[in-house]
């Protein structure tokens, strides 16, 4: 039976993992390679690396690090951040990424998903969407959640799937950072309109939040989080054991 995936997300800037990491037993907690290896040996089903650098030089450093990660970690790697063109896809795929996550790049260039899916296959293209409620409606936000595009999120995701996105990451701005649980209502709304895997992001604060996610939405595929894993508030090994104890199928 297919298992539910648990995915830690690492933000990388200047070749280092940012958002403070706090782990005992790791010699260099902000090394993407060390942290990636730690997660992969401790139950992560997949890793997401987010490139939050801006300059060309830093981008080259990021791809260099990606290569190091992909040479030592043998689980699926998704790369996002700064993906605006087909050349960006090409650049990270050559360095060992398996999937590429597009967000603002798809808003600026609606053909990007289609072009990439045709060239690399649907399985390679992940549409990541930052969503916030505005007057009770789900709207797509850009620029790291700062700008309301006015686009209806449900329509945007349906269109993304039709264009060839093979997975959807739903990041709720409303619950992100609050640590009171995933945005079940928003995730249900998205999950019911698409037939590709949906990854929940934003709001996880404890193990119970993941149990609630998979119990409330049995067809949701994965839960993604960053700081609760990085700070050691939730260990992925414990999380997966608890999920299993609650009859949720995971890879142990």
């Amino acid at each position: 039976m297919i298992t539910k995936r648990i995915i830690p997300c690492l933000d990388v800037k200047n070749g280092r993992v940012v958002k403070g990491v706090n782990f005992e037993g790791l010699s260099d907690v902000s090394s993407p390679v060390e942290l990636g290896r730690f997660y992969s040996e401790n139950g992560a089903d997949e890793l997401v690396f987010y490139d939050i650098t801006a300059s060309y030089e830093q981008r080259a450093l990021f791809t260099d690090i990606l290569k190091q990660v992909a040479s030592t970690i043998f689980i699926p790697l998704t790369v996002g951040g700064g993906i605006n063109t087909i050349d960006d896809f090409d650049r990270v795929l050559k360095c060992g990424a398996d999937k590429v996550s597009v967000n603002s790049g798809a808003i600026r260039n609606p053909n990007l998903i289609k072009e990439a899916a045709l060239r690399y296959g649907d399985q390679c293209v992940v549409l990541s969407v930052d969503i916030k409620r505005v007057d009770g409606k789900f709207k797509v936000f850009a620029k790291g959640g700062r700008e309301n595009t006015g686009i209806d999120a449900i329509e945007w995701i349906k269109q993304g799937e039709a264009n060839g996105a093979g997975e959807i990451v739903v990041n709720s701005i409303d619950t992100d950072g609050v640590k009171k649980g995933f945005d079940i209502e928003m995730l249900k709304a998205v999950n019911s309109v698409v037939n590709v895997p949906v990854i929940a992001s934003g709001g996880a604060g404890c193990i119970e939040d993941f149990i609630t996610l998979f119990n409330e939405i049995p067809t949701i595929d994965a839960g993604l989080a960053a700081s609760i894993f990085h700070f050691g508030e939730v260990s992925i090994t414990d999380l997966k054991q608890e999920l299993k104890n609650n009859n949720i199928n995971v890879r142990l």
Binding site: I2, F74, K94, G96, Y120, G166, R251
Partner: protein, 206 residues
């Protein structure tokens, strides 16, 4: 020495790295003659069947793979590389494969519970068919171990060649074997320790 057939399809960075990681000598090659020098051959692949089959033919690697496997050289097809080992594929039309495994490549959707998400993406467990000897590539693998899948089509009408299955709203072919020809639908190079152990076992084949 292990040759990885490079015919311009798919992402081979991780595959190459996985051989390096377990200390096996593997090289990428576009050259049919170089392929002949190897002890074992890997046929990778990601993308669409027809495009890949054409590229493989054009590269000249198709013929040398057929010649070498006929001599008994071990071959491992991965993902689309496994699908190309079959006789036919029904992905967007009907296309001819290498014919090393009897059977067809068919869409998953009509054969599994309606409404299941397609592609079948994620970690799923391997099950070995009863009454068959366990494949040598699973020397270090236990029934129920998870590996990573990404596919919308699967091998069908190939019962006698199945070496492992997986459950996804129905039973899907996870891997096949016919003598010295092996194929995995999943990605061993993306399946953590279990996957690396499969690559290692393949390298250890005699």
């Amino acid at each position: 020495m292990i040759a990885i057939a490079d015919y311009g399809v798919g992402n081979i960075f991780s595959l190459q790295s996985s051989f390096k990681f377990i200390g096996a000598d593997a090289y990428l090659t576009k050259d049919p003659d170089k392929l002949k020098e190897a002890d074992k051959i890997i046929l990778p692949g990601v993308g669409a069947f027809e495009d890949a089959a054409q590229k493989l033919k054009k590269s000249g690697l198709r013929d040398s793979i057929l010649e070498e496997t006929a001599k008994g050289k071990p071959l491992l097809g991965i993902c689309l590389g496994m699908q190309m080992l079959f006789e036919r594929s029904f992905e967007y039309g009907e296309h001819k494969g290498l014919g090393l495994i009897g059977g067809d490549i068919c869409p998953i959707a009509p054969d599994v519970t309606a409404g299941l998400k397609i592609p079948h993406i994620g970690w799923n467990s391997l099950h070995f068919p009863e009454g068959k000897e366990k494949s040598k590539i699973y020397k270090y693998v236990n029934d129920g171990d998870c590996v990573y899948f990404v596919h919308s089509y699967y091998g069908k009408n190939c019962d006698e060649y199945i070496s492992a299955t997986t459950e996804y709203g129905g039973t899907l072919t996870a891997s096949v074997e016919n003598g010295n020809v092996y194929g995995t639908q999943f990605h061993p190079e993306k399946s953590g320790k279990v996957g690396l152990s499969i690559i290692k076992a393949f390298c250890e084949l005699e």
